[in-house]
């Protein structure tokens, strides 16, 4: 590879063309959230609120799942994903939006949580408005705080290297993120030390805090139903979406930034294996809950599951099983399918949409009798997709999407 190519790649990696992404995201967000606001004034605001909750859970899960992937890479000292890790870390830009969405959900609580109108004595003080929302707010703040600190420390050495090449508002942001970082060997070591604590902390906090969120914002919608494993089911599903979204973004940025030299079939192969593995794990956790509920045969436990698996919700349950487990399983079991970008993208998108439908199936049947699907459902979701793309685009406009240290090292050694 010539020096010219190297400079070009360096330039594209640090100055990603993301204007289109920002504009598209903003347009979708305005349309979708405009529709949401319009629906709130209509005669069935609950329908809009339910979709708001579902998409809050889904996109927060995607953003956090990506950051969890980055934390796992750090904690295990893995290097194979070095060229794509920033696409996952970009989820950090969605976290402030997610926090605002949580506060918005507080406004719509009466349309969502049945235990507000009909208090559930069996759950004691656990399900009261102030305790639930304070607890969840603190959980989200801790989770997002650790995630932001993790990504910030990961960015520092890169930003230090690049700060002379950027100007204006980008320079201001870089200086703010860098704080007093001055690039000495001691400071680089200090960043590494901090990351070696933040990465495992991030993994633990992810599991604990998303369990609280899953219990409070999903399980409490059917307040008499309990499953200890539900939290794990929820956050592992979120991790799966983090991986699949990373897959989509990798294919997108690889073409957009011309990174075919450093994002090779190896990366697709490994990412494909992870998606395959966690599709199986999703089915495993799903089945682990089903088995004990089926054996125990207690009415308050079985109703939740059987309401979803039989009757009017059954078609959705079948589609979820196909999209999240069976299709990705038989699709991604082949090496060729994993390393060919077209088939990889196809199966990864099927899984991504499948988990969205799974979140729909977790929330909706607790609150309404029969499935509804129409413009409001699609519109609010498109609005959230817009917010996610907007956040991702803004991150890409500001920060290097490929670490300059990484490009330099990968091109020097020729191993990636």
């Amino acid at each position: 590879m010539s020096a010219h190519d190297r400079d070009a790649m360096y330039q594209r990696g640090t100055d990603a063309p993301a204007r289109g992404l920002v504009l598209l995201g903003a347009a979708l967000a305005v349309v979708g959230l405009g529709l949401f606001a319009f629906l709130l004034t209509g005669d069935d605001p609950g329908r809009a609120w339910r979709m708001f909750l579902i998409n809050f859970l889904y996109f927060t899960g995607i953003a956090m799942g990506g950051i969890l992937f980055a934390a796992i890479q750090k904690a295990t000292k893995a290097r194979w994903a070095g060229s794509i890790i920033r696409f996952a870390e970009a989820g950090v830009a969605f976290l402030p939006i997610s926090l605002i969405c949580f506060l918005v959900i507080f406004l719509g609580r009466d349309h969502l949580f049945p235990w507000i109108e009909h208090p559930t004595p069996a759950r004691g003080q656990w399900l009261t408005v102030s305790w639930v929302f304070w607890r969840d707010l603190v959980a989200l703040l801790v989770l997002f705080g650790v995630a932001a600190a993790f990504v910030r420390n990961n960015l520092k050495p890169d930003l230090y290297q690049l700060k002379e090449h950027v100007s204006g508002w980008r320079r201001t942001v870089y200086d703010r993120v860098l704080g007093g970082y001055s690039g000495t060997a001691e400071e680089e070591a200090a960043v590494d030390r901090r990351l070696s604590i933040l990465a495992p902390a991030m993994i633990l906090v992810y599991a604990y805090m998303l369990t609280v969120i899953a219990f409070d914002l999903v399980m409490s919608l059917a307040p008499y139903w309990l499953s200890n494993l539900f939290g794990a089911f929820f956050f592992m599903g979120a991790f799966l979406t983090g991986l699949t979204m990373l897959g989509v973004l990798t294919v997108y940025w690889r073409g957009k930034l011309g990174l075919t030299a450093i994002i090779t079939p190896h990366q697709f192969h490994d990412l494909g294996k992870l998606v395959f593995g966690f599709s199986v794990f999703w089915a495993y956790l799903m089945y682990s809950q089903l088995l004990v509920i089926w054996y125990g045969n207690l009415r308050e436990e079985t109703s939740f599951v059987f309401f979803r698996l039989w009757g009017e919700w059954q078609p959705i349950a079948i589609v979820v099983g196909l999209m999240v487990f069976l299709i990705p399983f038989w699709g991604l079991i082949w090496v060729k399918a994993k390393i060919t970008p077209v088939t990889f993208t196809l199966f990864v998108i099927i899984s991504l949409l499948g988990v969205w439908l799974e979140r729909y199936l977790l929330v909706q049947p607790s609150l309404i009798e029969t499935p509804v699907f129409g413009l409001p459902e699609v519109g609010v979701s498109v609005g959230f997709l817009g917010l996610f793309l907007l956040a991702h685009g803004l991150f890409a406009r500001t920060f290097p999407m490929v670490s300059p240290r990484w490009v330099a090292r990968a091109l020097e050694t020729g191993h990636h």
């Binding site: 089903l290 088995l291 089926w294 079991i333 090496v335």
Partner: protein, 168 residues
């Protein structure tokens, strides 16, 4: 030591030197050489460029046989000697998934082992060896005719072998 077709045995201290030697050997058209490494290493693996292992097909077929056997066995036994347990249906698929899953793992593992043994036996070729290749050195053995040996020897030496031996 005999039993192998004579050739050249090189011992390498550096991974880069060994991968260079492998690449150059392949360029010269040698295909049936043997590489020893004390630890698994991606660079060497990449340089050697083996075809995808056929053992994975054994695993897949073993797993499919296992899942079929698991469901068939548990359902057949239930209906062959029907007992109502815990008020559940005689043939209950939900708990039998556990049996099917375990047999998938068992049959898959046994088939994999059988595949490894079978293909190792089929493709095994006698080659010279040195105990240091399990310790701190990477070895390459190239079986070749006596008149080619000096060319191979100088190739290995120029790519950085620590020691090159002619094996009768």
């Amino acid at each position: 030591m005999s039993g192998h077709p004579g050739g050249v045995l090189g011992a390498f201290r550096q991974i880069d030197a060994a991968t260079d030697a492998v690449r150059e050997l392949k360029e010269m058209g040698y295909e049936d050489f043997t590489v020893y490494s004390p630890v698994p290493n991606h660079e060497i693996e990449l340089a050697v460029g083996h075809k995808v292992s056929p053992v994975r097909m054994w695993t897949l077929l073993g797993g499919l046989a296992g899942v079929t056997t698991g469901f068939w066995m548990s359902l057949w036994m239930s209906y062959d000697w029907p007992l109502v347990v815990g008020g559940k249906p005689i043939g209950s698929v939900i708990p039998y998934v556990v049996i099917a899953f375990e047999l998938t793992v068992l049959f898959g593992a046994i088939a994999t082992l059988a595949g490894v043994v079978f293909h190792s036996w089929r493709t095994a070729k006698p080659a010279a060896f040195d105990g240091r290749f399990t310790d701190d050195m990477i070895g390459i053995f190239v079986p070749c005719r006596p008149d080619r040996r000096n060319a191979v020897k100088s190739l290995m030496e120029s790519s950085g072998a620590a020691e090159v031996r002619l094996e009768a």
